[in-house]
């Protein structure tokens, strides 16, 4: 395989990873899947950033024995990717902590259920009754979820 083909493959892979990630964020209903989709999206973005300064015919930009290599890979994007990866890992760790907390407080990771619970809690705190019809089922537990946190 010739080097330019490799470039095309890698660019396609970068955009495909980002695309899969975005699709996953949009269509997933499970929080852990959403977190994983974000990981994919970030990997795609990092790969793209990496490729933006990469040259297939060059070597690492290291001066050996005082000799400057004839052609070097641009080191700037690699430094940037390193930073981006570190930031990404920190945010992902934070997201997983939140996922754990949510699981403990609400007992579910389905975003549709979480959205309803969030609306209920916010309305409860504000002292608003949510709009509902007379035929709506009576909520089994009207208390805010904060009260249950300790028991989990």
């Amino acid at each position: 395989m010739t080097p330019p083909d490799l470039g095309i493959i890698l660019y396609t892979a970068a955009f495909a990873l980002a695309g899969i990630g975005i699709l996953g964020i949009v269509i997933s209903t499970h929080l852990v899947r959403i977190v994983l989709s974000i990981v994919l999206l970030e990997t795609g973005a990092n790969l793209l950033l990496m490729l933006s300064g990469f040259r297939f015919d060059a070597v690492a930009p290291v001066i050996v024995d005082g000799n400057l290599p004839a052609s070097m890979v641009d080191p700037v994007p690699q430094a940037l990717v390193l930073t981006a990866i570190v930031i990404g890992v920190a945010v992902q760790a934070f997201m997983m902590t939140l996922v754990l907390r949510l699981r403990r407080v609400y007992g579910t990771l389905d975003i549709r259920e979480l959205r309803e619970l969030l609306e209920r809690d916010l309305a409860h705190e504000a002292g608003i009754r949510l709009p509902s019809s007379e035929d709506a089922p009576v909520p089994s537990d009207g208390s805010p979820a904060v009260a249950r946190e300790g028991g989990a």
Binding site: A18, I22, S52, D74, A90, V91, L98, L102, L118, V146
Partner: protein, 487 residues
Amino acid sequence: MTQPVLLFALPLLAAFLLPVVWRISAAAGRLFGPLVLGVNVAIGLLAWDGVANQTRVIALGGFAPPFGIAFYIDRLALLFAVAVSLGILLLWPAGRDGEGASREATLTLVLAAAGTGLALSGDLFNIYVFYELTAIASYGLAAARGTGAGYAATMRFVVIGSFGAALMLIGIALVYQAAGTLNLAQLAEVAPGTLDGTLGLAAFVFILVGAGVKAELFPVNTWVPEVYGAASRRVAGLLAGIISKLALLIILRLLVLVFQHAEALQVMLLLGMLGLITGELAAWRARDLTRMLAYSSIGQLGVMFIAFSIPGEAGVYAGLAVALHHMVVKPALFLLAGRWGGAVERLAGAAQASPLAAALFILLALSLIGIPPLPGFWAKFLVVSSALAQPGAAYVFAAAAILIAAVVEVSYLFRVVARLYRRLPAATLPPPPGRPDLAVGSLLGAVLIATVLWLAPLGDGLQGIAAEAADRDGYIEAMNPASGLLP
């Protein structure tokens, strides 16, 4: 003595010292944060005269741009850096005890450091790093109350924020691909040949959506009402009033320096109008005060996007006027909502309990709507008049949208005011706002009235700042990236 780099370095250092100080003495720890921010504001004000005479460029670590990372400090950057420090000082999280308080104070200091860094940075990747640092600090603050609703709202904030950050990173990769540099001045030099095509437009849209998460831009602002509703009102005021404007500042710099597409402005105009319309209509429907304020801030940010989409100095001037006005008004409103927060129906009789708070609310509401002679009128007038001076039907629509939105604002804000002044027996009155909240709110109200009195000199000063910010060649010349290149 007044080294502007300290504006960023001091709060960052203090943030990491704070847990240690807190452990030695909780009382000292409590004072430490506000003290550092106070020093920061003083440094900024002392540096003002020097910067007003000549823009300063600081090459961090002694590496000259474009190789090193540079801070670019003109009056606009310094203004925002001081505003961030002062705003965070005024909205300093108060009252909680124990370990939670020290963590919250640490995060707030990190937020101050990242915010000033964002305002001063002259390098696209550095902007990304500070933007993420701001984001992480605000995620922590949004979840700090430790309620289930807080976690759920923050989760959505983090998901949308990470999505935006990844898009911003893709945009930066595209820029680097095409231009081979991330220094803003060097980008400004090479942009006409490399970034004026479709690739440049795509990069701009990616970065716009990425930064738009914080700036409450139309499609990526769904976290706003939930986070502001679930977080403490001070954090809501901080995010809506201060941090959102920093994201706007990035977009402004990029528009002026790098992306000179007519289409880029049209995209911003369209998204700004959509944000304005959806925000104001949602605020009109909102039934609790906090969410009403959150939606109204989406609408106001929409006005700022419309203003910055007006090409040239007039747009920058108008946008800055709206941004600074909102920076004063919205935190004050969130502070008033601190104790009042909740259903609008619950507010009946609040004017009896605290006449000052109710009067303050009316003052702020009037300025937000844009009633002369308050500064809100002046800011909106600048936007509408400079939009109408532009050719093209889109700007006329935008001006019409701003005026119609003002009518909607009257409708919902005065629904609240009518509740405040309903008479009730004394036993059932809602609690008055806390004393520190009311003090800061009154201070911000006083700033509004002072602005009315000194509108002419302040307006001229702001116009000068806007002219400097819109001056692309001036930026390149001050940064002078070629000087760092080897001969």
